[in-house]
Symmetry: C2
């Protein structure tokens, strides 16, 4: 799966005439290995840890590039900085635990359907959406921190 993602990435780069530099390889790998939704600074630190030649500017440029090619998805969870995740095939929304910043992914077909219906009723074609639930752990069965 990891290798799949990487070669897919390289394929895309070739298609676009992009060069597969060491920096891009490392950044791509960092992201494919990150289950959380890291912000730019976190990506930079993880990448820089593996290869000191990677600068913050390159991380910014690479993340933007990957986002444009559709490899990554950029999120704004409201803390001032952008956070990234690999664009999975299956769409999902996010629940943000405001006590820890942890992000939990979920899917719900019913909501998806409702959204399309609402847009159409208003005379629009839905091209994207953002659904974020901000919540605090319930009394029992809360996830361990």
């Amino acid at each position: 799966m990891r290798e799949t993602k990487l070669s897919e990435l390289e394929k895309l780069c070739l298609e676009k005439g992009l060069k597969m530099t060491d920096q891009r390889k490392v950044i791509a790998q960092v992201l494919s290995e990150s289950a959380d939704h890291p912000d730019v600074e976190q990506v930079y630190q993880r990448a820089h840890n593996q290869d000191h030649r990677i600068s913050l500017a390159t991380v910014y440029r690479t993340l933007k590039l990957f986002e444009e090619t559709g490899i990554l998805t950029k999120h704004d969870f409201g803390a001032g900085r952008a956070r990234y995740e690999t664009s999975d095939d299956d769409h999902h929304d996010h629940l943000i635990d405001i006590t820890s910043g942890q992000v939990i992914e979920f899917t719900n077909d019913e909501i998806e359907k409702l959204q399309r219906a609402i847009a159409e009723k208003l005379g629009f074609n839905l091209v994207g959406h953002k659904l974020e639930l901000y919540a605090i752990p319930g009394k029992r069965g809360k996830k361990k921190e």
Copy 2:
């Protein structure tokens, strides 16, 4: 309705020991008269138009203050700047026409209910949410620009 909102605002200011300056009055009025979801720059221009003594810094400070008192709601529709609207009693979500930036408000009880259910199923208590639909006008019956 407009007067109601203003006097309500003044009441809140008194309660909090805030001073009802001319600047605040003008900014409050500008917002109560704005049906769109103006960004800070727009609020500043509309307010400054009515009273040249209003500075951008005061607009920022006042908007933040009003948001904290619950009079205003701040949104980030993803264009880099914050946008504001008066906190109406009835909750609503937003559909953003990405071709014009126009924002349309809507409500949907079913989605609200689903959101609470999803959070609970994940072991959380919902404390807030954000639902934004990004769309383009449909072929027919599009709103006039």
